[in-house]
């Protein structure tokens, strides 16, 4: 019996690097959102920061487990048992990534809907997590639900762009569209490894846009009003 990794072998190292980059960018966004919360006491900023902490953790866990796999493979001659362990770790990493990422996305969707009842988040998290836990096709359901949530988020960021029509709101909208297509691509990545790579590249574009937006904000913020 073969043990199939979701990521193609040649892309494994690159995927770790990308996951570390995503983790750093999302952590920076979370930090600034928390800073905005400290300055304004806006609950939405705190929730936004929390959402990005979860998204950051999803990448940290995934990257860490993938690094462990790399060590395992590099340390010894790959026996059948080692390969099985590595494949299981890879899968566990994906599940952990899925859990944290979807919680982050749910909180992000909640922030976008501008409702004031945190119980809604708990309800959606409970529904989503139990559904994913009990389904045999965990990853397909995860990416499907992520795509649905991201569609709602994209619509809200489109409306936000229409309201403000600034380069910053455009960047965030495009970033969310890339994230949406990234999630949609993963649906195919389960069968075709190349889609996993495309998904990572789309995510890279998304987080780059978010980083550029943050850079523009910080750069403008330095100029006196």
């Amino acid at each position: 019996m073969g043990y199939v990794f979701v990521s193609p072998n040649w892309f494994f190292n690159y995927s770790i690097i990308l996951e570390v980059i995503f983790a750093v960018i999302t952590l920076v966004v979370s930090y600034y959102a928390f800073k905005v919360f400290k300055l304004t006491d806006k609950k939405q900023a705190k929730l936004f920061s929390t959402a990005f902490v979860f998204i950051c953790l999803s990448y940290v866990i995934q990257a860490m487990l993938n690094i462990i796999i790399l060590w395992k493979i590099a340390d010894r001659v790959v026996s059948m048992i080692n390969l099985r362990d590595a494949a299981l770790l890879n899968l566990f990493g994906l599940y952990a990534h899925a859990l944290f990422f979807i919680i982050g996305i749910i909180i992000l969707a909640y922030v976008n809907f501008k409702v004031d009842n945190i119980k809604i988040v708990w309800l959606i998290v409970a529904l989503v997590v139990t559904s994913i836990f009990f389904t045999p096709n965990k990853l397909i359901l995860f990416y499907m639900l992520s795509s649905i949530l991201l569609m709602f988020i994209v619509v809200n960021y489109f409306l936000n762009y229409v309201r403000h029509k600034t380069p910053n709101t455009m960047l965030v909208l495009v970033a969310m569209i890339f994230l949406l297509f990234g999630a949609l691509h993963y649906l195919f990545a389960l069968d075709h490894e190349i889609y996993y790579v495309i998904g990572h590249i789309l995510e890279f574009f998304a987080y780059s846009m978010i980083l550029i937006n943050l850079y523009l904000i910080l750069n403008h913020g330095k100029k006196k009003r």
Binding site: A33, T40, Q44, T166, T169, N213, L216, I217, L218
Partner: protein
């Protein structure tokens, strides 16, 4: 038609008014500078005091004035960052 001021802008205008009056301002001046109704101004000031942006001082003549706290000064300095961050990520 002029764009409606959002909450962050109103808070900024109130804090700026206090700052521009050497950090000691009477409510009537805030009312004039912030262009709010008396009731709205009271609500905003109450919130700003609760959240620690502003403190109320009792004057010897029985009147009251308002001053910025460090948190209030920080808000003024970082307003542009706050405003662009909240706008771009839809947090307003």
């Amino acid at each position: 038609m002029a764009k409606k001021r959002d909450r962050l802008q109103i808070i900024y205008d109130i804090l700026k008014a206090i700052h521009d009056k050497n950090n000691r301002i009477r409510p009537t001046h805030i009312l004039y500078k912030s262009n709010l109704s008396h009731q709205m101004m009271e609500e905003y000031l109450g919130e700003l005091i609760t959240k620690g942006f502003v403190i109320m001082n009792s004057e010897k003549n029985g009147g009251k004035t308002y001053s910025l706290t460090q948190k209030g000064f920080d808000y003024l300095n970082k307003y542009k960052l706050i405003s662009e961050f909240t706008d771009s990520f839809g947090l307003e």
